[in-house]
């Protein structure tokens, strides 16, 4: 990609002229790979862990011995001695009350993970690229509807802000304040035991401010809830994609933005496996269509075989004359029946029978016809 889109620098302070244009650094064209990012993020998060383990002696500070067989009790080791309710209770086993747990946790568990440098770089490049896609930032939950441009680059005077008031004014001017309001709205107490463990309050993440040089910026912004600040030279995946989710809302200072090209020189950037990720577009393109054979006519599907001897319609399909035969048979049958009734029945009911028959005949004929037509 020789021609890269242009990003306009926004004014940080009032009265400043905005409008300097910078070319988009090539990082923003890096492949966005959520799978690699997720993996690297997982591994990285393990690196701040503090070990936890059960006490080495937990559950074993008893001299207990099994009573053996023949005492009508289970064979687990039991506490010796007497005079206390503890005596005779089961000990040592993971199933026992006051016993050692199954597989007691050890401090020498592997807490930290090493990640290959290339993978780490790939992940960070992906994360940065994702911050440049409006849809991903919105999907992640940031309120950026009013922002003038993504990625949001701001003039270097941000770095000189000293007061939180100024920082707030800046955020409001840049239309990033709704994201902070979202953070305020999300402030709540954690559910669960974390409350007792100094993790009582939780809130959402707000914008990430990336600067090149801190001239008071950190102090100005650090008290605003949700805002995170990092220096370009030390980009952190855990801050760029919190939770392993791509697309944090980032506010770049101009010099930080310029430095990206140096940090992510072409050689360091991962290659795209696909030049264009628009799969639907590719499949519809002329080149692909030309190489593909024409679509086949709809193939006939297998039909369930129905017995012609039972199913009138199938029989009619095979042998149309069958209908005629059938009709003849029905009519003949009726005639025979009528004759029989005439012979048996008294004379008074003869007329009634005659009236009924033609109507019934018509109905039957219609039914047979109808069936034949439907097929």
């Amino acid at each position: 990609m020789t021609s890269r889109p242009i990003v306009t620098v926004q004014a940080a302070k009032e009265g400043e002229k905005s409008g300097a244009s910078l070319a988009l650094p090539s990082v923003f064209r890096a492949p966005i790979r959520p799978d690699i990012l997720n993996f690297v993020h997982d591994q990285m998060r393990k690196n701040t862990r503090q070990p936890y383990a059960v006490h080495v002696k937990a559950g074993h500070q008893v001299s207990a011995e099994s009573w053996g067989t023949g005492r009508a009790v289970a064979r687990i080791p039991r506490v010796r001695g007497g005079g206390t309710s503890r005596s005779g209770q089961g000990a040592f086993g993971n199933m026992c009350r006051g016993g050692r747990m199954f597989a007691p946790t050890k401090t020498w568990r592997k807490w930290h993970r090493r990640i290959n440098v290339q993978q780490r770089r790939f992940a960070v490049a992906s994360a940065i690229a994702a911050t440049g896609v409006t849809s991903l930032v919105m999907a992640r939950g940031h309120r950026i509807e009013k922002i003038s441009e993504v990625p949001l680059v701001v003039s270097d005077s941000v770095q000189d802000l000293k007061k939180t008031k100024e920082a707030v004014a800046f955020l409001k001017r840049v239309k990033a304040w709704p994201d902070i309001q979202k953070v305020y709205a999300s402030q709540r107490f954690r559910a669960g035991r974390g409350k007792m463990r100094n993790r009582a309050r939780i809130q959402k993440r707000g914008p990430l401010v990336i600067y090149a040089k801190d001239n008071g910026l950190c102090r100005a912004f650090r008290n605003i809830p949700g805002v995170t600040l990092i220096c370009v030279s030390r980009l952190n995946l855990l801050k760029l994609a919190p939770g392993g989710h791509l697309g944090r809302f980032v506010i770049w200072s101009e010099s930080a933005f310029r430095q990206l090209d140096q940090i992510y020189a072409k050689s360091k950037l991962p290659d795209n496996k696909m030049a264009s990720t628009d799969l639907t577009g590719i499949l519809r393109s002329d080149e692909v269509k030309a190489a593909v054979r024409p679509r086949q006519a709809r193939q006939a599907r297998a039909v369930l075989k129905k017995n012609p001897l039972k199913n009138v319609n199938v029989m009619a399909k095979l042998n149309p004359y069958a209908l005629v035969l059938k009709r003849k048979a029905i009519l003949a049958q009726r005639k025979a029946l009528a004759k029989k009734r005439k012979a048996d029945a008294p004379a008074s009911s003869q007329k009634q029978q005659q009236k009924k028959q033609p109507a019934a005949k018509k109905a039957k004929q219609a039914a047979v016809k109808g069936k034949a037509v439907k097929k």
């Binding site: 991903l136 999907a139 992640r140 993504v150 628009d278 639907t280």
Partner: protein, 273 residues
């Protein structure tokens, strides 16, 4: 990279997506169908259009790939004509070379919005009561806090104090510290008689024992009674005025009174929900 965006949104996380047992919904306000689909996702389609209502006016919103990186200007808004035919004409004109599906869905949504408008206008005319959702957790918490606050406020003591202050203000010289204990005793004596005589009203009392309401006379009257008590105490063995049957603090007098009225106690009626 619409496909890429859709892959990420669909498979990992989208803040607008809500799932139910049967379907996936999209809470993005620009969504055409309200469902979370490859076609309906306003984020995963660089060219997209919707119809939306703002303050009773229906607009056509359009989004193009060229403005995808400018969130503030991303949606082009066109106010639709109030005439139905013309509005449809507008839609068809604006979306002329667009995806068939989008065009059809936009028109369908436009029809639906009009229906909704009609219905909501009718509702405004007919419905008087507005349903307001209650948060059970919040309600329970607030109620508990109200009760606690009420207890803490100490209304009884405050009122008592206020009344005594007023009395003092009214009768600065004549006011003598009423012996509370003796007063209470006398009251109890009266109450005992009450219990003996008014067994009927006991049932009533029991019913109301929960809310602890007592029949309280008017404020003025009760004040007068208390004042009278004090006067009588000072004036000693004066004859009781024949009009009212009043309580005297001497035990002799207590027995003589019959049938006794229910005394005014300094209790306050609380409204029970």
């Amino acid at each position: 990279s619409d496909d890429l965006i859709w892959q990420i949104i669909n498979n990992s996380f989208c803040s607008f997506m809500t799932k139910t047992k049967t379907s996936k919904f999209c809470r993005n306000e620009y969504n055409l169908t309200g469902l979370c689909n490859r076609h309906s996702c306003p984020l995963a389609n660089s060219q997209y259009a919707t119809v939306r209502e703002e303050d009773g006016v229906i607009y056509l919103y359009m989004k193009v790939a060229e403005r995808a990186h400018l969130p503030a200007k991303m949606w082009e808004r066109v106010k639709l004509h109030r005439n139905y035919e013309r509005a449809i004409g507008q839609i068809k004109e604006k979306l002329i070379y667009w995806n068939n599906w989008i065009r059809r869905r936009v028109i369908a949504r436009f029809d639906r919005l009009l229906e909704v408008q009609k219905r909501s206008r009718r509702l405004v005319l007919t419905s008087e009561t507005k349903l307001v959702p209650l948060s059970r957790k919040v309600e329970r918490r607030e109620r508990r806090r109200e009760d606690k606050a009420l207890v803490r406020a100490g209304l009884e003591t405050a009122i008592e104090k206020e009344m005594l202050d007023r009395l003092r203000a009214a009768n600065p010289e004549e006011f003598v510290n009423v012996d509370r204990a003796a007063y209470e005793k006398a009251l109890q004596a009266v109450e005992v008689e009450d219990e003996e005589d008014d067994e009927e009203s006991e049932e009533e009392e029991e019913d109301e024992s929960e809310s602890e309401t007592e029949y309280v006379e008017d404020f003025d009257e009760s004040e007068e009674e208390i004042e009278d008590i004090q006067e009588q105490q000072e004036e000693g063995e004066e004859e009781e005025p024949p009009v009212r049957q009043k309580l005297t603090l001497s035990s002799r007098g207590a027995a003589a009174i019959a049938p006794p009225r229910k005394r005014a106690k300094v209790t306050v009626e609380y409204d029970s929900d």
